[in-house]
Symmetry: C2
Subunit: 205 residues, 2 copies
Amino acid sequence: MRYTSAAIETLIEEFAKLPGIGRKTAQRLAMHILHEPKSGAERLAGALIDIKEKVIRCSVCQNVTDRDADPCYICSSTGRDRSVICVVESPADVLAFEKTGHYKGQYHVLHGLVSPLDGIGPDDIRIHELLARLGERHEAVPVKEVVLALNPTVEGETTSLYITRLLKPFGISVTKIARGIPVGAELEFIDEATLSRAMEGRSAV
Amino acid sequence: MRYTSAAIETLIEEFAKLPGIGRKTAQRLAMHILHEPKSGAERLAGALIDIKEKVIRCSVCQNVTDRDADPCYICSSTGRDRSVICVVESPADVLAFEKTGHYKGQYHVLHGLVSPLDGIGPDDIRIHELLARLGERHEAVPVKEVVLALNPTVEGETTSLYITRLLKPFGISVTKIARGIPVGAELEFIDEATLSRAMEGRSAV
């Protein structure tokens, strides 16, 4: 059943195309837009156009950044350790690490993982750009360590393995973030794979 | 913690202003927009602008309609019974009745309910327009019945009572939709108020 206005119906259909938004939620959103001041709808519309026009990938770390801010603020920051590069899958992962406030090195965003089943090979993600960064001998601070922080899935492990092999010739230390029990979890409910990894990765107290 | 792109951050903030959408969902939506083709974002942006520019209220029933379709398709339909007007609170209620496919009369949308506590009086909703419709003696088909289909809340009952009194002088039959147990419900779990109403409204089998 359709609304009596084609414009409302169109907006509902467009909202319903977004992930996790069904017809009912789309109706609620459209009604909200209909009742709020025009400026609100215009701001959202403007932001939608802007994100497609202004967002590019940082020429250094490949993370998302604005057209007028390349290299991105992390790559151009003077207060960060340029000798460590943390390799992640997506911009959201960078955000997750930045939230901790702990890591002070650089990043490299792959924008995907090697996944032969989905037809995604090493050339489809930003591995080449990582090698180029490491090969730049004229850099003031040479890279000493590459930390692999990819999801503990088959694709993540495959990509980690692939990058590790590629980096061998560079003579750089390659590490990966620890797998183990999450803080606050109860041992009783942890799956076997995680427990095994936690046992393997035990350290002296 | 902010994304490395101001454009992404702006879109996340705009999405997060929508009802029922939090920061996490807004991030997911923004990332979806970032990865989908530009045309998708433009269609959504266009639909947002359109809804503010094209949607007006039908000059007859006050339901939402497009600028180039006034009166709305229900009011201008020749196949509907013009002697019955169903009074509802919002355009979504019209949709609910239309979904049943049962009701074939006209509608009148109040766009609100009388609610003294919220400072909404009879003049703030479209009651005046309803009276104007009933007063139009030159209409080919005179209105014989007004069905009040407002929510069974204090505001809904107040508004029903108010409209009933206003319509007395017109000599039109004023009815309201039945309160009772919903189809498929179990008596055991129905609240007392609904059960009492169902008993009061009993009919011969």
